[in-house]
């Protein structure tokens, strides 16, 4: 459990910090650091067995049949990355506290950072690859939030979207690759996949798998030609860049390269693909970096270049290259995080990031300058700093490739050239910013930043120095562990010394140093040339063109299907359904009528049926007179309830009856705000066409029903009927199915119901509509809104109605009834109070806020389900027992009843929420006292006879049909 908890903690912590940040910035930072500390302690507690060479795997079955388990793994590589993620994460959290201005919401940034941290931990600690992919996508999503943190800024939004699109697309490719891997090895568990390298490499699907996985890796790690998203992601606040582009986001790609190294590496496809893309990235990144005038832009392209370097190392594929790759991951993370933070400090202090304006800061910020210089030296690969060691190893490996690969001689040249540019841009970072004359027109007067803002940089710089000078003492143990995990075996002999004697690598280093200084000395002519000629190659354009193409295509398809007209869309839908149904039937070749005999028709059924048919057709005929049509629809609904009564479905009949009442009330209230009649539609061909479609649809449904009813019947009903009493403890099988056998479905249903209620609440909020000012032309609403006899009677009825509801609720397990029906009855009983007594009177006596009721219902139902976990049973297992009370006698109690009470609460809450707010909307819409009290759910009581009726606010024709009935019925 330890690892699982460590990964999940940041996710929980994110919510906690978001909430806690309202208590102040100090609380937010303390909470956030605590959230980082806890997983760190958990991971460290597992250190001992790890050092002994043991890989820890925690696995929980989730969908074992599909190869999906919740599985976490801790080995050297995971440990190294977890350390980077948590360590640099903590420093970034500290730094961000001072970087963000008071206007920015620190809690939101911390919440996003922690989300991202959790996702990264999930990526590096996952054993199951599918699960790793989930976290992988979560890093894309949370980095989207982080990059777009300043959401009011256009460039932030564009950058965030671009990063999401590119890495998200790569994630899809990666999913394909992982699925193929799973197919080859029969498992998604890393332990299996890492051990099946030979099988995978020999498999015919190896090449497509490799391509797909590399696509995922290259997009994430900003490799050429997908690198363009990274510079645009610089729109993020600098702490975010410092985190995402040093230790985490982009490192997820190279992490996966290292992780799958034993499974995929060792073929010529791997070598050539990975090395060539890495080399291109290394070179282009280094060259473009030099020409960036933006401080962060320089660091961004430098990051791209260093990622290319790491990629090349893994592409070379020798064990020593893997050592160098891992080593450089550590070094790059430390110096680049430090440099980003230094850049942030400079930006913070000067108000700009343009290196053409920031000059000569050494006088005002010598201490920051010293720190930046150390980190920049590490980036350039100067001896005694950590970057030198891994770069020297890289040069050595690159030189070694000359004979091993065709065209291998290209690599040392490219490496030296990139090294020279790295020296040049590092020089520029230091020289341009801290020396090079006087500052030009800075928005702020620079001085050293707050003390604590420098602490994270100091920590990182000290690491750069310690690793650079005493590598064997500092970094060797963790490197050893990580490399053993990457190679799935003992690491090769390597010596982390500063001086190995004269070798090609030393020569390349010297060349790079000299070349770098030379290039920088020529900077003025080169910059001029670049600004006028080069620098226009932006892969962003290709991306945007592609995006535009996809959008145009999608819009075309949508516009073709949905022409912005509901009737047209529905016509299309019905016609397609008809064609499919007809085609299916013609294709099957079976007769319409089956073999089963028919029931005889009795007179009562015939009359009911006729009444329903007449009501339905009458609805159709008078549908333009809306009030009448509504009454007729209500009549149809009642007949439907009768059908349920006839055919042995008492529960359905009760539900239908009560839903019908609520629906009609609801539609009546809504109708008050709508025109009372529908316009006549004049285009008769369309009307006839619609009629034809409708008749065909009806005919189709009739034939379909007929075909089903005349065929023999098989059902799984036997199981429910047999197990209802012994298993569910209830005799009403329908109710037992709802609250027990299929309780999970019901939980979903009431969630939907609650959501519908909440959504309606959100829609009605701030909605203002004026309703009917009069019951009809020349017919004012009746002056007495709440006739005394009705209100007195309804008040009397309330306890009785509630009693009936509770009775129905409690007996539901054994006799027709249950939470749904009881909820509707309760709602009707309460709504009647509103109708008869007005909102003001009722609100004084009833709680208005229905949200807690819905929440309590959902909570009760869910908790009832969760309790069964405590007893070791699956979710929503129920139990029941028999109890005896004096006077009452013996009775039965089932835990499912508690669930049913939850259902009841949700139904009551949602129904009342909807209806009450419709009524409240009336009051909100009529602040004018001269019209208040003229509506159906008016707050004002009897306010005396009214003679002043405002003119009709409605447009369109009016009809008096039934308006007086509407007024008096409500």
């Amino acid at each position: 459990m330890t690892l699982t908890i460590a990964v999940l903690l940041p996710f929980l912590g994110a919510a906690g910090v978001a909430w806690g940040s309202r208590l102040g910035r100090s609380t937010a930072i303390l909470l956030a650091l605590l959230v980082v500390l806890m997983p760190a302690i958990l991971v460290l507690s597992l250190l001992d067995p790890l050092v002994a060479g043991e890989t820890r795997v925690e696995s929980f079955a989730w969908l074992p049949a599909a190869g999906l388990n919740i599985a976490f793994r801790l080995d050297g590589l995971g440990l190294l990355f977890a350390g980077l993620i948590l360590g640099i994460g903590a420093l970034v959290i500290l730094y961000a506290r001072y970087y963000l201005s008071e206007r920015d919401n620190l809690g939101r940034l911390y919440a996003y950072l922690l989300l991202f941290m959790g996702a990264m931990l999930g990526v590096v600690l996952s054993e199951n690859l599918i699960q790793m992919l989930v976290f992988w996508e979560l890093t894309s999503l949370s980095s989207f939030l982080l990059i777009g943190y300043w959401r009011h800024r256009e460039d932030a939004r564009t950058g965030a979207r671009m990063a999401l699109a590119v890495t998200g697309a790569g994630g899809l490719a990666l999913l394909g690759g992982v699925l193929l891997l799973g197919r080859m090895t029969g498992s998604y568990d890393l332990s299996v996949i890492l051990a099946s390298g030979d099988l995978i490499r020999a498999h015919p699907l190896y090449a497509p798998t490799l391509l797909l996985i590399l696509l995922g890796i290259f997009t994430k790690s900003a490799q050429f030609p997908f690198h363009f998203w990274l510079p645009h992601a610089m729109a993020a606040p600098t702490p975010v860049s410092s985190y995402l582009h040093s230790a985490t986001m982009v490192k997820a790609g190279v992490f996966l390269l290292a992780r799958l190294f034993p499974a995929l590496a060792g073929t010529w496809e791997w070598n050539y693909l990975v090395v060539s893309f890495g080399m291109l990235t290394l070179l282009t990144g280094a060259v473009i970096a030099l020409f960036q005038h933006d401080l962060k832009g320089l660091l961004a392209y430098s990051t791209i270049s260093h990622l290319g370097l790491i990629t090349v190392l893994f592409g070379i594929g020798t064990p020593l290259a893997a050592v160098a790759g891992i080593f450089h991951i550590i070094n790059h993370a430390t110096f680049k995080a430090g440099l980003f933070m230094a850049a942030g400090i400079i930006d913070h202090e000067t108000g700009t990031r343009d290196m053409r304006r920031i000059n000569g800061l050494w006088k005002s910020m010598p201490y920051t300058g010293t720190l930046a210089m150390v980190a920049a030296s590490a980036m350039a690969g100067v001896p005694l700093f950590n970057g030198f060691l891994s770069k020297e190893m890289f040069f050595g490996e690159a030189a070694g490739v000359t004979d091993a690969m065709a065209l291998g001689w290209l690599l040392p040249i490219a490496a030296t050239l990139a090294g020279a540019f790295a020296v040049a841009y590092s020089l520029r970072f230091v020289h341009d910013v801290f020396f090079n004359g006087e500052p030009v027109d800075l928005p702020k007067h620079p001085h050293e930043p707050p003390r604590w803002m420098l602490v994270p940089v100091e920590v990182l710089v000290v690491i750069c120095l310690l690793v650079g000078m005493l590598p064997a003492l500092t970094v060797e143990p963790i490197l050893h562990l990580a490399v053993s995990a990457v190679l799935q075996g003992p690491p090769p002999e390597h010596d982390l010394a500063i001086w190995h004697g004269f070798s090609p690598a030393v020569l390349m280093s010297i060349l790079a140093m000299g070349g770098g200084v030379f290039i920088y000395s020529l900077r003025h002519p080169i910059f001029d040339w670049w600004d006028s000629h080069g620098g226009r190659v932006d892969f962003r354009r290709g991306y945007e063109r592609l995006l535009q193409l996809v959008l145009t295509l999608a819009r075309g398809v949508t516009a073709w299907l949905d022409q912005g007209s509901l009737p047209r869309l529905l016509r299309f839908f019905v016609i397609v359904a008809l064609i499919l149904g007809l085609g299916g039937w013609l294709g099957s070749g079976s007769p319409i009528v089956g073999s089963v005999g028919l029931m005889t028709l009795d007179a009562i059924s015939l009359i009911t049926g006729l009444a329903m048919a007449v009501a339905a057709i009458a609805t159709l005929i008078w549908h333009r007179q809306r009030y009448l049509a509504l009454v007729l629809v209500g009549a149809v609904g009642l007949m439907v309830a009768l059908v349920f009564v006839e055919f042995s479905a008492p529960d359905l009949a009760l539900t239908q009856l009560s839903v019908e009442v609520v629906t009609v009330i609801l539609l009546l209230l809504a109708l008050y705000f709508l025109p009372q009649t529908s316009r006549a539609e004049t285009r008769s061909p369309r009307l006839w066409g619609d009629a034809l479609i409708a008749v065909l649809a009806g005919l189709g449904m009739s034939i379909f029903t007929w075909a089903i009813l005349t065929r023999p019947y098989e059902s799984i009903a036997g199981f429910f009927l047999e197990n209802s009493v012994p298993g569910g403890g209830g005799r009403n099988v329908v109710n037992v199915i709802l609250v027990d056998f299929r309780g999970f479905d019901t939980l979903g249903e009431i969630t939907v119901l609650g959501l519908a209620g909440l959504a309606i609440f959100a829609m009605l909020e701030k909605l203002r509509l004026s309703g009917q000012m009069a019951a009809g032309p020349g017919m004012p609403w009746h002056w007495d809104r709440h006739p005394i006899i009705v209100s007195a009677l309804v008040r009397l009825l309330l306890p009785l109605a509630l009693l009936v509801a509770i009775f129905i609720l409690l007996r539901g397990h054994n006799l027709p009834g249950g939470g749904f029906i009881a909820g509707l009855i309760t709602a009707i009983a309460l709504i009647m109070q509103y109708l008869a007594n007005g909102i003001a009177w009722t609100h004084d006596r009833l709680p208005v806020d229905m949200h807690p009721v819905i929440g309590a219902g959902l909570l009760l139902a869910t908790v009832t389900g969760l309790v069964s976990f405590l007893f070791g049973y699956p979710f929503l297992t129920t139990t029941f027992g028999h109890f005896a009370w004096p006077l009452v006698g013996e009775f039965e109690l089932a835990s499912a009843m508690v669930f049913d009470i939850g259902v009841w609460l949700v139904v009551v809450g949602s129904t009342l929420l909807i209806l009450i707010h419709l009524g409240l909307m009336y009051d909100a819409s009529h602040d004018d006292p001269s019209v208040a009290g003229s509506g159906p759910l008016s707050a004002a009581g009897a306010s005396g006879p009214r003679t002043d009726v405002a003119p009709l606010a409605e447009s369109g024709p009016k009809s008096a049909t039934g308006q007086s009935a509407l007024g008096s019925s409500i």
Partner: protein, 108 residues
């Protein structure tokens, strides 16, 4: 009996579809309501028509009708109510925002 119910489901479907194809919101809501009656009856009928055998375990009762379609339809009725409520509120919202109760936001 089967023929009668088939016919009724057909009539409800036809009236429902016709109203659903109208250009103004309120008839569309009524059409949806009629169509959900038809669908509920259809689902219910898929469990076949049985008279006098409610699925409530009682000593001495000869048989029981299928409880499963009933359970499905029961929740369908309630969810149908939620849907109707949601759609009619959308209609009100559209009227407030667009000033019309035409389903396509214009008059034609």
């Amino acid at each position: 009996m089967e023929a009668l119910l088939s016919l009724l489901i057909g009539i409800l479907t036809a009236t429902g579809v016709y109203l659903m194809l109208r250009a103004q919101t309120f008839p569309v809501v009524l059409g949806l309501t009629l169509l959900s009656y038809a669908v509920n009856l259809f689902l219910f009928a898929a469990g076949r028509l049985v008279v006098g055998q409610p699925p409530i375990i009682t000593a001495g009762q000869a048989g029981y009708t299928d409880p499963l379609p009933q359970a499905l339809v029961l929740t369908a009725i309630v969810i149908g109510f939620a849907m109707t409520a949601f759609v009619i509120m959308l209609a009100l919202k559209a009227r407030a925002e667009l000033g019309t109760d035409d389903v396509d936001g214009g008059e034609y």
